[in-house]
């Protein structure tokens, strides 16, 4: 407390000195922020800090306003020159995505905030808090976390359904090290590959048949295409009519704010009355 008072005192003195020098007080300078991930962009908009954004990744298409902001390449290969030319004071980058470009930017004097990969809903909240803190919007961050937590279903189902989630055709699915697996859990399902200590991998179709999921979530492709695979019609999910294609692909596959309303939607699709 004493420290804060002391600092406040110093600050006031400085301000007074500045006032004396210039004769007026300049408004707080606006931040210049670049976001290299669609989920970060969506979080920044939710925090009400979209005016600070001067650059986003090529994949940032939500909310609609994000489409109008300068594009700076994709998160795996950001366009360093473009980012530098936007003169940002903060760049939000995925820690796992491209360490060398982060280093390059840092060496050019740009502040890079590397956020670790989100492997669960709790990790997404941590990212929200970190971004909020960086942007000086801690209160908005807490409010957002609270709002998103409230969206999640709170009562677990009596018997969780076994769920197979296919992120992309060809059997690309999520293991336990992925936020998608956590999203399935929060929606009241049990990812059949949740025990795999990995993020994303290509599952063998035979294994899917053996584990016999009671619900299938397709983020790409149609129900007809899925049911045309060998023996797919014999799956418990197919018999129960629980081949779910109604989720918003972008919203569900990004560790951002929109995921939580999708989780709520998924709960309804899994357990809702037909």
């Amino acid at each position: 407390m004493k420290n804060i008072k002391c600092e406040l005192g110093n600050f006031l003195k400085l301000c007074a000195a500045a006032l004396c020098l210039c004769g007026f007080s300049s408004p707080a300078q606006a931040r210049r922020v670049v976001s290299l991930m669609p989920s970060y962009t969506e979080i920044i908009f939710e925090l009400g800090a979209e005016k600070d954004l001067v650059g986003v990744s090529n994949f940032c298409n939500w909310p609609p306003g994000a489409g109008k902001i300068e594009k700076t390449g994709d998160y795996l290969r950001p366009n360093i020159e473009k980012i530098y030319s936007l003169k940002p004071d903060t760049v939000f980058a995925g820690a796992w995505a491209d360490a060398s470009s982060s280093k390059q930017l840092s060496s050019m004097g740009v502040k890079v905030v590397s956020l670790s990969e989100e492997k669960s809903a709790a990790d997404i909240f941590a990212t929200v808090r970190l971004i909020a803190a960086e942007l000086g919007r801690r209160r908005e961050g807490e409010r957002l976390v609270k709002k998103l937590s409230a969206l999640m279903p709170h009562e677990p189902p009596a018997k969780p359904l076994k769920v197979y989630l296919e992120a992309d055709a060809g059997g690309w699915t999520a293991g336990g090290q992925s936020f998608l697996s956590d999203a399935v859990r929060l929606a009241g399902g049990r990812n059949i590959f949740g025990g795999e200590k990995r993020g994303y991998f290509q599952a063998s179709w035979e294994e899917v048949l053996l584990l016999d999921p009671e619900a299938v979530i397709l983020l790409s492709g149609t129900e007809e295409e899925f049911l045309a695979r060998p023996m797919a019609k014999g799956l418990a999910a197919a018999k129960a009519g629980r081949i779910i294609t109604g989720l918003d692909r972008d919203a569900f596959s990004r560790p951002g704010p929109r995921l939580f309303s999708e989780i709520k939607k998924l709960r309804g699709l899994l357990y809702g009355k037909k």
Binding site: Q202, S204, E206, L209, S220, P230, M231
Partner: protein, 312 residues
Amino acid sequence: MGKNKFLIFLAALAAACLFSLAAGPAGWSNYDIIINLRLPRTLAALAVGAGLGLAGALFQGVLKNPLSDPYILGTSSGATAAAVFCFLAGIERTSPVFFLAVFAGAFGATFLSYWLARLAGRLSDAALVLAGVAVSAFLSALVMLTLTSSGARSFSLFYFVLGGLYSVQPGVLIISSLIIAGSGVLAMARWRALDAMALGSENAYHLGISPERERILFFTLACASTSAAVAIGGTIGFVGLMTPHIVRRITGPSARALVPAAALGGAALLTAADAAGRSLFSPSEIPAGIVMALAGAPFFMWLLCKSSRGRA
């Protein structure tokens, strides 16, 4: 080639089929899985492997170049590029238009390589391989450009370009198998011409064979076979390169035995590779294209070492 030697290939083929039918997380006693899941997939691997092995033997025979195969000559890249454009245009994989387009892509790319190589004057095999590499690289870049700039379905298309047999449509399998079998029969019927070509263009000419015409004919058969294989399983490399070399050690150089043996050998090789990819890393699946590259690239290096030592 004696009948005994042919038995070696049939035994290898039978072993690969047994492995493919018996291997998998469900074990070897689940009748449903074996009939409905592993059998169609084994048939697909057999067809693609036979098609690529056949194409490899024909290209190597016509060009007298041990390093040529559908991948190095741009044939596969042409077929893959045509297939990707068909997918984006929404053309069904079982429609005749799709097969015609894929064949046209394969033939166009091979012919472009051929034409480029001829620009230098008399066709040299080295120039053809060089032109093939250029055409292949350009088409692969075109496919990558299309994939990175096309939105939603790009990931599944990526998977197709990588090569694998995860999902095979029965209709595509039937049509492709017929094309591959037809090309094989036509090629075997002309084994004498292929052998004559091996003696060099001039000698072939003296034997009453027009090298130019035969070359186009065998190119057409190899392209048809390659494009049918690509239609099923995307870009799978090294089968066409490796198989003729392995089987030649047993059959000797005559096309009469080499061509059918390469088809059988290619079928066995890819069937075993696909079975290994889907059973060794369960519950993950490694696409057959990656398994083949893992096995094939070292083979390619060995081949290069051997041929450079032979020259020294």
